[in-house]
Subunit: 354 residues, 2 copies
C-alpha cells in the first residue's frame, strides 16, 4: 500500500485496495470530442490545431497496437512530449490487464474494433450548447448499458478517457453544479484566464437547475456517458474513475443521477493531487464520500526528458494513466521504481522504432 | 450430462461440459448481412422481403431490451412464428449469462451499444463476389482482436450469429473447401434446389484454392470474422460456436487459418443434429476433431404452437439458440422440462405484451 496516498474516504480506500488485490481488472477507454478544444491555446493534446481531433482515436490505437494507424506517430505535444497513454500502455501491459475502447462522441473513429454508442461530438461551449437534452439522455442510457455489461465481466472496472479540451468543459460543469473548482490542464502554465472566460460565457446560457440541462449546455459527451457507466457498474463491481479534473466532473454529475459510493473510487497521479493551482482532493471530498487514490509514477528520476516532463506538469494525467498505474501496481505488487523501469522500456521502444 | 447428446470427439465433449461447469460464460452475438438473402424464397428470416435487413439488429435489440427498437415487433416468419432469439433470450437470462453484440457487416446498425468492426455487408453470391480479399483479411484480423478481448474476460466464449440467407453462403463455402455439405434452413421444406443453383453459379467464379479468395468469392462477412474470433479466443478460453450449418462453414474456414481444437466445441439443437435432409454431425467430424454438443430444448410438448414449430423444423437454429441453451443448462443444471417452462414464460410475456 505504500505506493499510494489516500484522500477522501480513507477507510474505504483501504478496503478498495485490499478487495481488488486478488481480482480481475478491465480497463475501458472512453474517447470523445468537444469543439471547445479548437479554441486557440486551450489544449496541447496534439502536435497542431488540425491534429487534435486525431488524438483520441490515435491514443486508442496506440494502446491496442503499440503504434497508431490514424496518424504516423503517437500523439504528442507540439514540442514532442508523448501522450500520457504511454504510461497507461506500460501499466496495462505489464499487468496483463485487458482493455476495450468505447467511442462516446469522438470526431474520428479509431481503426480497431470498438464499442459504438451512436453519439456525436460536443459543440464549443464558448459559443453554443454542447448537446441537446435528449443527447444527454442518450449518453446516460448508453453509458448505463455499457457499464452494466463491462462490470459483469470483471471485478474492477477502470474507466479512462481522452477528450481534448475536456478540462474546460469539466470546469464549467463543476461550477454550474455548485463546486468551487480550479482545474488542472495539459499545459504547465495552465491558461486559467482563458478557461475562466470560456466558462463564464458558457454559464451565462444556463437557465435551469436540472443536471441534464446543465451538462447539455456547458458539458461534453464524455461526462454523461461515463457517469452512466459509473451509475450502473458500481452496482455490479468495483469501479475506478481514472483521471483528474474531468473525472471530478463525471463524479459531480453522477452524484445527481445516483451511483453506489461504496464500490467507487477515483484514481489519479500525484501530479494531479499535488497541483497547487488546482484543488483536486478537496473537490472530491466536496462531491462524494469516496476515496481518491493517488500514485507517484516516479518519473522525476527518469533518464528520459520526455518522461520526466510528466512530473514537471506536462499532461499530468490523461488516457486513465493514474488509475492504470494504480491497477497494475495492485495486481502485480510493483512499486514506482519498477514502474519507471517498465515505462522507460516502452519509451525506448517507441523512440527508437519510430 | 443427460441433457446433451455428443458427437465427434466425444471424450473432449465430456471434458468441455465438465470444465465449463464452474466457470463464467459470455455470449457474443455477431450480426451480419449478405445480399444473397434478397433472392426470393431463400429465407423466412423476416415478415417480408423489405424487413429481412432489420432482422439481425432487431434480434440484437430483443436480446438486450426484451423488445425491438428498429422494428415494431420481434422478428418473425411471414406467418408469425417468432425468432429463435426467443430461446436465446430465455436461456441467457435464466442463467444470468452476459452478452455483447458485434456488428460484422449488418446492413442496419442496432439501436444499442455494440462492437463496431468497420465491416460492410456481403454481396449476392449468385451474381458477384461477396467481398474483396482485403475485406476478408480485415474481417479475420478484427475477428482475432475481438476474440482475444472477449476470451480474456470469460472462461467460455459462446458465439452466435444472425445473418439471413447465411445457410446458402455457408453451403457454398463448405463445398468450395471440399466438404460434401447438405444444409439446414429456416424453412421446413428446405429450398434445396434453389440453394444448389445459387451455389453452383457462385462456385463457377472460383479461380484460386486460397481460402481467403474462396470466402471472398462465395462466402459472407460473418464467416471470416467468426473464424478469426475462434482462432484467437481458443488460445485463451473455451469457445463454443453456437449454430448449425453456418458454424460448420466457420469451422471449415477456421481449420485453414488455424485454431486450438482442444478448447473448441460446436453447440446446437437436436433439430439440427436430427435433420435428415442435412448431414450435420458427419460434416463436423470431417472438418475438425472437436465435439458437437446437441441439446433437445423440449419444445415439442409446448402448449404454444409458436414454440412447438421450432421442433417441427421452422428456424431450427439461429441467434445461437442451441449453444445458449446448452450454456444455460451447464451453468444452472436445468433440464429440458425446466427450460420449456422458461421459454413458455418468455413466449407468454411477448405475445401478451405486444
Amino acid at each position: 500500500m505504500e505506493n499510494f496516498e489516500l484522500f477522501g474516504n480513507i477507510e474505504q480506500g483501504k478496503n478498495f485496495l485490499e478487495s481488488t488485490k486478488t481480482g480481475k481488472f478491465l480497463f475501458s477507454f472512453v474517447i470523445s470530442y468537444t469543439e471547445t478544444c479548437e479554441i486557440p491555446g486551450i489544449t496541447f493534446a496534439g502536435a497542431d490545431k488540425d491534429s487534435i481531433q486525431f488524438t483520441p482515436p490515435a491514443d486508442a490505437e496506440y494502446l491496442h497496437y503499440g503504434y497508431c494507424k490514424t496518424i504516423d506517430k503517437i500523439p504528442m505535444t507540439p514540442d514532442g512530449k508523448p501522450t500520457p497513454g504511454l504510461l497507461t500502455k506500460a501499466a496495462l501491459e505489464s499487468a496483463s490487464i485487458p482493455h476495450l475502447t468505447i467511442n462516446a462522441g469522438s470526431k474520428v473513429s479509431p481503426q480497431l474494433p470498438f464499442i459504438d454508442t451512436g453519439m456525436t461530438f460536443g459543440k464549443n461551449i464558448s459559443t453554443q450548447d454542447a448537446m441537446t437534452d435528449s443527447q444527454v439522455s442518450h449518453a446516460v442510457d448508453y453509458g448505463r448499458i455499457v457499464g452494466r455489461s463491462m462490470a459483469s465481466l470483471t471485478d474492477c472496472l477502470v474507466i479512462g478517457e481522452s477528450i481534448p479540451g475536456g478540462t474546460t468543459t469539466a470546469l464549467a460543469v463543476l461550477k454550474a453544479l455548485g463546486f468551487d473548482a480550479k482545474v488542472s490542464s495539459s499545459i504547465p502554465n495552465n491558461p486559467i484566464e482563458l478557461k475562466n472566460q470560456i466558462v463564464s460565457s458558457a454559464l451565462g446560457r444556463i437557465d435551469s437547475e436540472h443536471p441534464y440541462s446543465i451538462v447539455a449546455k456547458v458539458g461534453d459527451p464524455m461526462i454523461p456517458f461515463v457517469a452512466g457507466m459509473l451509475s450502473s457498474a458500481s452496482n455490479v463491481s468495483k469501479v475506478m474513475l481514472a483521471g483528474g479534473t474531468q473525472m471530478a466532473a463525471v463524479l459531480a454529475f453522477a452524484s445527481k443521477i445516483g451511483f453506489n459510493e461504496e464500490n467507487s473510487a477515483i484514481g489519479t497521479t500525484s501530479y494531479i493531487t499535488n497541483d497547487d493551482t488546482a484543488n483536486f482532493t478537496h473537490l472530491i471530498t466536496e462531491i462524494a464520500d469516496i476515496p481518491a487514490i493517488s500514485v507517484n509514477p516516479g518519473l522525476e528520476t527518469s533518464q528520459y526528458s520526455g518522461l520526466k516532463a510528466f512530473s514537471e506538469g506536462f499532461a499530468k494525467e490523461g488516457v486513465g494513466a493514474g488509475g492504470s498505474i494504480i491497477s497494475s501496481m495492485i495486481k502485480t505488487g510493483n512499486n514506482s521504481v519498477k514502474f519507471l523501469e517498465i515505462a522507460e522500456k516502452e519509451y525506448h521502444r517507441l523512440f527508437t522504432s519510430l
